[in-house]
């Protein structure tokens, strides 16, 4: 078919532009390869830090100008490069770390591809100077892109210094896409922080334009973690440790009361290498599920030690991705290690919060905004939707509420409560108020019961037999096609939880028994509601259980007797994670008597 006069010229133009295939010159090939490894100043810093760490350096200093756009200098006190090998170090695919393909399967150094220095050199004005301890005189070589400028003896301290100036001076296209100096600095800052976590025994300095940004002396992991995560967060962290024959996981995790709005404080290291891996972060989030609200993220530092032949790091030049030989095992190991660490901590969690409470909110109140730790779970909260008391606008800290589990029912305080006569008060038929030593706590009755039912359901799923309350009047309910489909999907789960249910004609089901202790049965309406939930993205068993716990729990606005309140509190504290509901909202808030006295402008008395 004739393409018509309008299209023809274009077709012709393309024909004209076709050139013969040519092999690229080494310069062009080098630049393309470099572009893959070296995307921005932070990639330069990453490569240089890896080299320094591979050279067993105790102190590493990173000095920048304009976030590294102008100048990057990385100096270490490592083993250095012998003068005779220095020129080789900056050639393509030159490395001391592997020598044959067999070595690729057991990489245990950070760098290995032999691309880094050559790539950096190719796109910058580059200086490398190094001296080993055995040499009296080292060597310094300067390049400008691929042009050798200078090669001279060097007599500085043992170790290696690499200075990278005017990055991408010969790649104007790349240069245009660089972010501002401050944003590059931010990247490098977080890079140095993460390296410092993996190598606490090394000291790190980061300097920008003569200003000290990071200054970390060599230390232990614990000390390093405390500095990087801040001591306030650190007090809410627990350690993690699990060893299997071929794997070792260890690290630090924040308890569920401390979360962030993003993942920026999550570090995963595999064999010392910082990895962004969805498998690992998924495993961790699975373990935290139902403990923290959706959209909140824990602080995580996890080191995974795995035999080098169990992973493939050589997926991408930046080495930030990884492939596992056995993903499922690793996922399971991480998830159970995290769950175990959090579970083992519920008791000490209470104690911790108790002790932290006073370090964050000492009696000499810094004022209600004094913590500055908006990320911390002990953040002052005003119940949303209600104007703050005493004209304090909602959203601004007024009362200091703490998601504060205390040693509520340890003997002494229990006695205190009893001596005051009444044990539990119900507020607005929704919250239970309990006086404790030094203040009071509020329990959200719905959230508390939800946690209890959720826990029960989880135990049923794990094999515990449910108690089934048989019904005098079996309920027959008719389902929509979508609801019936969901019912069929869940037909194994329902009996596990204690529902005795069977199909009853076309799209109808009949229920003979329901889980003991369930509220809001409403002649089957409860089940219709759960099966009819519209959120189609969430139809898993766990979501079903959450939805079941939520809907079967005592509602806000339900009057409770003193006995019911007591029983609820006791049951709550018998659960695995009493301080949050399955959606991660807190079940308990504490108000300190000192906060109360401050609000009344009383001088703060000693704790009663």
């Amino acid at each position: 078919m004739d393409p018509g006069p309008f299209i023809q010229p274009l077709v012709r133009a393309r024909e004209v532009q076709v050139s013969p295939i040519r092999k690229l010159t080494p310069e062009v090939a080098g630049k393309i390869a470099a572009g893959e490894v070296i995307e921005r100043p932070s990639s330069v810093v990453k490569e240089l830090l890896e080299n320094s760490l591979d050279a067993s350096s105790r102190r590493i200093s990173v000095a920048l100008l304009e976030g590294g756009r102008k100048r990057i200098a990385v100096e270490d006190d490592g083993v250095g490069i012998p003068s005779s090998e220095l020129p080789l170090a900056v050639q393509n695919f030159a490395t001391s770390k592997i020598s044959d393909t067999g070595d690729l399967l057991k990489i245990d150094t950070l760098g290995f591809r032999g691309e880094a220095l050559a790539s950096i050199r190719a796109v910058s004005r580059f200086t490398i100077r190094s001296r080993t301890r055995d040499e009296d005189v080292g060597r310094e070589i300067q390049w400008s892109g691929n042009d050798l400028l200078n090669d001279s003896p060097y007599v500085g301290n043992p170790g290696t210094e690499v200075i990278v100036q005017d990055l991408f001076f010969n790649l104007p296209a790349r240069l245009e896409f660089l972010s501002s100096g401050t944003s590059e600095l931010r990247r490098i800052n977080s890079l140095v922080e993460s390296f410092s976590l993996a190598f606490p025994e090394s000291g790190f300095n980061l300097i920008e334009g003569g200003r000290n940004i990071i200054s970390l002396p060599p230390s232990t992991l614990r000390e390093r973690v405390e500095v990087i995560f801040s001591s306030e967060v650190f007090q809410h962290m627990t350690t993690l440790e699990k060893v299997s024959p071929r794997l070792r996981v260890h690290g630090y995790l924040s308890l569920p009361n401390i979360t962030r709005g993003n993942r920026s404080k999550q570090y995963y290291f595999i064999n010392g290498r910082l990895i962004k891996d969805r498998l690992l972060s998924h495993a961790v989030h699975q373990a935290y599920r139902s403990l923290i609200p959706d959209g909140r993220f824990p602080y995580v530092l996890i080191f995974l030690k795995i035999p080098p032949d169990g992973i493939d790091i050589n997926v991408h030049p930046t080495k930030a991705e990884i492939r596992f030989r056995n993903e499922r095992d690793i996922h399971r190991l991480i998830s159970s290690a995290v769950r175990g660490a959090l579970k083992g901590n519920t008791i000490s969690f209470r104690e911790k919060v108790e002790s932290v409470y006073h370090s964050i909110f000492p009696h000499e109140q810094k004022g209600s905004t004094g913590t500055g730790s908006t990320e911390a779970g002990t953040t002052p909260v005003i119940p949303s939707g209600e104007p703050g008391p005493c004209g304090v606008p909602a959203g601004k800290p007024g009362w200091i509420f703490h998601e504060a589990p205390l040693s509520l029912f340890e003997g002494e305080e229990r006695a205190d409560i009893i001596s005051s006569g009444k044990l539990y008060w119900q507020l607005h038929q929704s919250y239970i108020l309990i006086q404790i030593r030094g203040g009071m706590v509020f329990v959200d009755q719905h959230a508390a019961h939800e946690r209890i039912l959720f826990d029960r359901a989880k135990r049923n799923m794990a094999g515990e037999k449910p108690a089934i309350q048989s019904l005098l009047f079996p309920a027959t309910i008719e389902l929509s096609p979508a609801e019936y489909e969901r019912y069929e999907k869940l037909s194994d789960t329902l009996p596990t939880l204690g529902f005795e249910v069977e199909p009853f004609g076309l799209r109808s089901i009949i229920i003979h028994g329901i889980p003991g202790g369930v509220r809001n049965w409403s002649e089957g309406h409860l089940l219709t509601e759960i099966l009819g939930e519209r959120n189609t993205a969430r139809t898993g068993v766990e979501d079903f259980i959450k939805s079941f716990a939520c809907r079967a729990a005592i509602k806000a606005g339900t009057k409770l007797s003193a006995g019911e309140m007591e029983s609820l509190i006791d049951q709550l504290f018998a659960t695995e994670f009493p301080f949050t509901c399955p959606h991660g909202r807190p079940t308990i808030l504490r108000v300190n008597i000192a906060d109360l006295e401050r609000r009344f402008h009383r001088t703060v008395s000693s704790e009663r």
């Binding site: 089934i468 309350q469 005098l472 009047f473 202790g517 409403s522 309406h525």
Partner: protein, 368 residues
């Protein structure tokens, strides 16, 4: 208005009627009680619109009149007084209370705003002995549901006929049925659902009465006693068809002393699961063993002598349901008729009182 009332009489009547005064209401007038004095004597009235009570108070009327005054406040004042007689004196909007040297002036409201007592237009009526009526109520009210999504189950079904009166309640897990043979020659056969609050209010006033006139209308029921009228709305039905769930063929009979079973249940239930209160009944030849085993709490068991001759059987129940039933049975021994562990059990007193026939149905709470 000016009346003089013996303090004892006043405090008894005021405290009873103040339970009808709603503590929270969007209509301020409902938080008041109406005091009236005329040629027939002195009356106190209160209503929450669902239930209304008017009660006669013995005393001397010096000046006729009426006033509506804050109910809970008046009850509190009267309760605090000491002396023999109380003088209540009112103009249109203020009530003065004088007792010995105490004097209170309470701001009231015009009696015109107070809702008039509904006039009962009964479809049928009968007269009953208060002792019998209260017994029937006590034996049926405990199984009432609290699930407001099904209002019919939140009340007690009354079946009224020429030769019998029956009361039935159920919350879907258990059912209480009690009936009495009684000659009510003039009544029309009716089934109505009575709110438990009407029945508990009735209980507060029925003591010492010689007879109660019951008048049942389409949507309301009223009780007339010598000094008190109670009027209540009825719940709407339908009440579920309960007859078919009363087991007729339970043949395994356990006979046990009521107090022994109640005490043992109460004891082992201490360690029962707080959510379900499950207690397991293990039956063997002439032996009943109650036991609970709760993860992370512990276990308890108790063996009871009983008469049982069927094959061994194990059934779980909610301990609080068992205890509720034990409280309503007067006989020393109970008969527990059982079938399979997932079927309804039927409990009844071994010696039924001559005029009352009581059965309690309980559904098992079993291990899945």
């Amino acid at each position: 208005m000016k009346v003089i009332i013996p303090l004892l009489e006043l405090s008894r009547k005021v405290s009873a009627i103040s339970t009808v005064v709603p503590s929270k209401t969007t209509m301020p007038i409902l938080s008041t009680m109406l005091i009236g004095a005329d040629g027939n004597g002195i009356t106190f009235s209160a209503t929450d619109l669902d239930i209304s009570v008017t009660s006669k108070v013995k005393g001397r009327v010096e000046v006729e009149g009426k006033i509506a005054v804050p109910g809970k406040k008046i009850a509190e004042i009267v309760k605090s007084l000491s002396g023999d007689e109380v003088i209540l004196e009112a103009d249109r909007e203020k009530l003065t209370i004088i007792c010995c040297k105490s004097r209170f002036v309470v701001n009231g409201r015009s009696s015109d705003d107070f809702p008039t007592m509904p006039k009962q237009e009964g479809k049928t009526s009968f007269t009953i002995n208060p002792g019998l009526l209260l017994k029937l109520i006590q034996k049926s009210i405990y199984a009432v549901s609290t699930d407001l999504t099904r209002p019919a189950l939140c009340g007690v079904l009354w079946e009224v006929d020429r030769n019998r009166l029956a009361m039935i309640s159920t919350d879907g897990h258990r059912l209480a049925k009690v009936e009495t043979k009684i000659e009510l020659p003039d009544v029309k056969k009716m089934d109505v659902i009575v709110p438990p609050k009407a029945l508990s209010t009735l209980k507060a006033y029925a003591e010492g009465e010689e007879k109660i006139d019951v008048d049942i209308g389409e949507n309301s029921i009223s009780f007339e006693m010598s000094g008190t009228s109670i009027y209540s709305r009825l719940f709407e039905g339908p009440f579920p068809n309960y007859q078919k769930v009363i087991p007729a063929a339970n043949e395994k009979e356990l006979v046990v002393t009521k107090s022994v079973l109640a005490d043992a249940t109460r004891r082992v239930a201490i360690l029962s699961d707080a959510l379900t209160h499950q207690v397991i009944f293990s039956l063997d030849k002439d032996k009943l063993k109650l036991h609970v085993s709760t993860q992370e709490i512990g276990e308890a068991s108790e063996e009871i002598e009983a008469s049982f001759s069927s094959d061994p059987l194990e059934i779980g129940y909610n301990a609080s349901y068992i205890l509720d039933i034990m409280r309503t049975i007067d006989s020393d021994e109970i008969s527990f008729l059982l079938d399979r562990p997932d079927n309804a059990g039927l409990i009844k007193p071994v010696s039924q009182e001559a005029d009352i026939k009581q059965v309690c149905i309980i559904m098992p709470l079993r291990i899945g």
